[in-house]
């Protein structure tokens, strides 16, 4: 487990998801390499959220296979906790942190340092959180420590805490669900720096983004999802930002023509 001998951190094979008559994902197959930042783009309702929910154990698909570090996953026992055990961490937009809870709780929730009776070692958790905030996330002199409630943090800082948490728990893959939505430009740059940090530390990242400029700049590869299907898989450098925009517009036109 310590040596990273696997080829793909995640591979999805013909994943299908249907809610009654509505099909959210139709035979989606994709893979993410060990140290790859993959950008996932697509319209609202293209199936991006469903895809990451299946990947991270929140939902189970109707059919298809999921491989983590090249091991086939049994969906009957797959869950968020199990995904954590496979070192897959998710940073949901607005949904990754408990607003009123202090950072020392948010950091360790679900994976507390406890004694055998389940009581939390608060002192130790605070020490670690303060250390990570200072060294890894770089919150220096902003008056934020382990005791600060999340409600005191800016949007960018929240993403930073969530990403820092994922890195602390040594994630192989960090899934980011629109981390820059509703952030001021200065905050966006902080978040983009956090994402570069993910790449630099040798991890993989699945990055869902609306803003094409951000994702084009950062991602090693772009996957375009449209109405539950993967329609393009674009390696970095194959298209300029303008070409990418035109490509997506073409897809849009084809869709309208078909309709």
């Amino acid at each position: 487990m310590n040596e990273k001998t696997f080829q793909h951190v995640v591979r999805m094979d013909r994943i299908r998801m249907a809610y009654g008559k509505v099909t959210a994902l139709r035979d989606v197959s994709l893979q993410i390499g060990r140290n790859e930042i993959v950008g996932l783009i697509g319209d609202n309702g293209a199936g991006k959220s469903t895809l990451i929910k299946i990947m991270t154990g929140v939902q189970k698909p109707s059919s298809g296979d999921l491989y983590l570090r090249d091991n086939k996953i049994d969906f009957s026992s797959y869950s968020v906790r199990e995904a954590h055990r496979w070192r897959i961490e998710t940073v949901y937009q607005e949904k990754s942190l408990g607003e009123k809870q202090p950072l020392w709780r948010n950091f360790f929730v679900g994976r507390q340092i406890t004694n055998r009776w389940g009581f939390i070692d608060i002192k130790k958790q605070k020490e670690i959180v303060n250390d990570v905030l200072l060294r890894q996330i770089g919150f220096r002199g902003v008056g934020i420590n382990a005791d600060s409630p999340v409600s005191k943090l800016s949007g960018g800082e929240r993403q930073g805490v969530a990403i820092g948490r994922a890195m602390y728990f040594d994630a192989d893959l960090i899934v980011l669900d629109e981390p820059t939505v509703a952030l001021a430009i200065k905050e966006v740059h902080k978040v983009l720096d956090f994402i570069r940090g993910i790449k630099d530390s040798g991890r993989a990242c699945l990055y869902i983004e609306h803003n094409l400029a951000h994702v084009h700049e950062l991602a090693d590869r772009l996957i375009v999802l449209d109405r539950g299907q993967v329609v393009s898989d674009i390696p970095k450098g194959e298209m300029s930002l303008v070409e990418l925009q035109n490509h997506l517009l073409d897809l849009q036109r084809q869709k309208e023509a078909a309709a």
Binding site: K100, Q101, Q112, W117, F119
Partner: protein, 381 residues
Amino acid sequence: MSMAAISPSPRVGLGSRLLTVEGLPIFLVLIVILVALMAIAPNAFLGYRTYLSIIINYQPQIICALGLTLVIAAGEIDLSFPAIITLSSLVFAAFFRFDLVGWVHGPLFWLGIIGDSTAPDQIAAIQGWICWVGLIAGIGVGALAGWIAGILVARIGIPSIIATLALSFVWRGLAVFLADGKQFALRGFNGTLLWEITTGRVFTGLFDSGVVLRKPDGIPVQMLYGLGIAVALWFILNRHRFGESLLFIGDNANVARVLGIDVRGSKVRLFTLMGALAGLAGVFLTTETENFTTTQGQSSLLIVIAAVFIGGTSIFGGAGTIIGSYIGLLIVAVLQVGMVAANLSGAVADMVIGLVFITAVILHMLVEKPERLKGLGLGRS
């Protein structure tokens, strides 16, 4: 608050730190109310007897308020605990009403464990053992009732206010039906070991009893159990993994789910715990009064909920204070007793409690969400 921002002097820092000591502000409110009542009704509030009677009479409500703190911190509510009190009271009392002694005596005699005689001491011995079964059954029935509420809320998805409202009809109806609408006394309970353990008085030497009425003046043991439960629940809420799950669920259940918290399981456990505590409260109430009535526990609903909110548990969920709830219930109790002692009716007590309730909720909201000050036109834009 703005003062602290401008000049963070150590003195201001100490003041605001004292404000954040759990339960301290509300404790000061209790003291103020007590001082006022000592002035209005000195006969009642300058002697210790009133305090002892408040402690024993409100112990079941204190236990319920402690449990309800966890429920409300998790963003839920339980309206069924008064009916669970009635039901568990009945279950406990039933072990004295029905002819269990006769049923138990037969096999024991047949096995040669006890003699043939149905002498009073033999009956008392059997009853002394049966009442322990009653204690466990009373708590168990409460836990079962709470578990059913938990299933309805967490698995089926009925909002807790609706599920527990419906269940309170069921439990109260069931209790009254089983009791045939009658009240009855616990014959033979007085003098058993369980009676000593649940209704005894300790530190009687501290009090100058004079005339001993029903029991000598002393600290009711139930108060010690109540404090023990308070300490245990404080540690569960603030230091235990389960309490942390409840806080995150109350904060935002969607966040809790994606963080890997077992939201449904935690809620089922939460309501089961609340039910067990209500069951224990019912047993305590019945042992103290040595009587079962079909209205047992009914008056506790509003004051327990009021106490939890007066104490400072968040109306939005995600934060709760055990110490605050304990003191909150003492405030409500003192007001109820105090208004009567001051020759004002219970109706006046209700009005005062309501006003204290609203004032407390507003103050706690302002502490929790200071931006609301603007809405009141009190803060600077």
